[in-house]
C-alpha cells in the first residue's frame, strides 16, 4: 500500500506546482449592486436594478474569444407557498387538492449571456438551480404522486410568470469590456418586501467555475412603510386607528351635510 500512497502524493504535489508555475490562479467572478436597497413608495411602479461585475484572473485568450458565460439571478425571500387547484363539485368550482411547497422564491429574475442550454449541460444548470425550470421548492404535502407534484410545480411557475414575479432575460448581460459586464434585472411593481439575494455564476466552456452572492433589501418607505409595519406588527393599534378614522369621517360628514 505504502508506495502507492507515496506516488499519489508525489503526483498531486507535482501537478499543483506545475499549475502555479504556469500562473494559473483561480478564476472567479465579482459583483456589485447599483443600489443595495430598493425603496417602495406609494407610486412605485417597478424598476430595474443594474448589477455590475467582473471576471477576475481569467484567461486572456478565452476572454477575448468571449468563451466565458455569466448568469445573474435576483432571488426574493423564500416562503412556503400553497398551490390549489379548483375542481368541480356539486356543480360549482371549489378549491380541491392543494400542495404546499417549502422555500419557494417569492420572486426570481434571471439574466444570462446566452440561452441556458448553450451555457452548460442541463444537468449542471439543474444542479445549480438556475432558471425557472430548475427551481426546486420542496413539496411538503405527503402522499402526492410524482406526476401530480410536477403538474402543481409547473402551475406554480406559470402563475408566478403571469404575476410578473418570475422573469427570464436571455442576453440580458452585456459585456462592457472583455472582463467587465453589466446585468440589468427587472424589479416588478409587486416585488415582495424583504431580503433578496443576488447570485452570479461564471461558466467557462460549458463548465461552472465560480459564483458570488450579495444581498439586496426591498423595503417600503414613508407612509407606505408606516402603515405596512403597523398593520403587520401591531394589528390591534392599526384596527383602533382604522375605527377612529371611520368615526371621524362619519362625524365630519354629519356636520357638513347637516339637515337644518
Amino acid at each position: 500500500m505504502r508506495p502507492f500512497v507515496f506516488i499519489a502524493i508525489l503526483f498531486t504535489t507535482l501537478f499543483a506546482s506545475a499549475l502555479q508555475v504556469s500562473g494559473q490562479v483561480q478564476t472567479n467572478i465579482q459583483i456589485g449592486l447599483s443600489s443595495d436597497v430598493v425603496e417602495i413608495t406609494s407610486s412605485f411602479d417597478g424598476t430595474s436594478t443594474v448589477i455590475f461585475g467582473s471576471i477576475e484572473n481569467g484567461n486572456r485568450e478565452l476572454l477575448k474569444e468571449g468563451r466565458y458565460d455569466v448568469v445573474v439571478i435576483l432571488i426574493g425571500p423564500k416562503v412556503r407557498t400553497i398551490v390549489r387547484r379548483r375542481e368541480r363539485k356539486f356543480g360549482i368550482w371549489l378549491n380541491g387538492s392543494s400542495l404546499s411547497f417549502a422555500d419557494v422564491p417569492s420572486s426570481y429574475s434571471v439574466a444570462t449571456t446566452r440561452p441556458l442550454n448553450d451555457i452548460a449541460q442541463s444537468s449542471e444548470i439543474k444542479m445549480l438551480e438556475i432558471g425557472l425550470d430548475n427551481l426546486n421548492g420542496v413539496s411538503v404535502t405527503s402522499g402526492f404522486m410524482f406526476k401530480k407534484t410536477e403538474t402543481f410545480r409547473k402551475s406554480l411557475q406559470r402563475l408566478k410568470v403571469k404575476q410578473n414575479l418570475y422573469l427570464e432575460n436571455i442576453g440580458g448581460i452585456e459585456f462592457l469590456s472583455p472582463t467587465l459586464f453589466k446585468a440589468k434585472l427587472t424589479v416588478p411593481a409587486n416585488v415582495p418586501i424583504g431580503k433578496h439575494t443576488a447570485r452570479a455564476f461564471l461558466f467557462r466552456d460549458g463548465k461552472f467555475i465560480s459564483s458570488k452572492f450579495t444581498e439586496m433589501r426591498v423595503k417600503k418607505i414613508g407612509f407606505e412603510q408606516y402603515t405596512y409595519d403597523l398593520a403587520n406588527r401591531n394589528g390591534l393599534l392599526y384596527g383602533i386607528i382604522a375605527v377612529l378614522v371611520a368615526i371621524a369621517t362619519g362625524w365630519i360628514a354629519s356636520l357638513v351635510f347637516r339637515k337644518d
Binding site: I82, W93, L159, N190, A231, N232, G239
Partner: protein, 298 residues
Amino acid sequence: MSVDVFVLFGMGAIIGFLSGMFGVGGGFLMTPLLIFYNIPPAVAVATGANQIIASSFSGALAHFKRGTLDLKLGIMLLLGGIVGSVMGVYLFAALRDAGQLDLTISILYVVFLGTIGLLMLIESLNAIRKTRGQTEPRKALPRNRNWISALPFKMRFHRSQLYLSVIPVLGLGMLVGILASIMGVGGGFVMVPAMIYLLRVPTNVVIGTSLFQIMFVSIFTTIAQASTNHTVDIVLAVILMVGGVIGAQFGAQAGRKLKGEQLRALLAIIVLAVCLRIGWGLIAHPDELYSLSVMGSF
C-alpha cells in the same frame, strides 16, 4: 395589487348614492363590487366592516339625538353581535387556511342576496299592484303570538314596550355578528326584517337600534380583523368612506323623488343582479384552475 384611486372613489360614491337612496347600509353591494374589482375577498370583507362604521355612525348619532333608539335592546343585540363577530373572525381565519374562504363568501352572498332580493321583489311588486287597484286596509301584525313568546329568560324593554325572551335577541345579534366578519356587511338587511317580523319591535325604533348595533359590531369586527387576520386596509377604507358619504347625500335627494315600493323594486333588481353575477362566478368554468397563496400574507 394595483388599483385606481378614482375608480375606488367612484365605487364608494355609487354605493353611497344607492345607500342614501334606498336607506340601506350598502355593505352587501360594496363587498361584491370590490371583489369584482379584483380586491382579494379577505381584504374586501375586512375593509368593508371598517367602512360601515363611517356610514352607520352619523345615522346612529341622529337616531340617538331624536330618541328613536332602544339602548337596552341595542346593547343586548350588541352582546350577541360581539360573540358572533369573534366566532366569525376565527371562522374566517380557518376558512382562509383551508383555502375555502372565497368560496364561502360567494355562497353566502348568493344565498342571502338571492333570498332577500326575491322576497323584496315579490313584496314590492305586490305593493305596486295594490296601489294601482284599491287601497286595502293594512292588516295589523298579530301581537306576540309566535313561538318566540314561548321562550324563557324574558326581559322588559321599555322603549320598545316589549316583554321578550333574550334568547332570540342574542341569537339575532350573533347571526349578524358572524355575517359582519365573514361577509363584510352591516347586516341591516337581516336585522331590520327580523326585528320587525320576529321580535315585533316598533318600526320607529328599529332603524336607530339596528344602526347602533351595526356600528359597534363593525367597530369590534374591524379591530378583531386587523389584529387577527391583518386584512383591514385603512387607505382603501378611507377612499370608499369619503366617496360613500358624498354619494349618500345625492342618493337621499334622489330617493325622495321616488315612491317607496318603486325604490324597493329597483333595489331588489340590483340585489338580484349582483347575486346572479356572483352565482355565475361559482358555476362558470374558471379561466385559471390553479391559484397560489403564500403563508402568512397575501
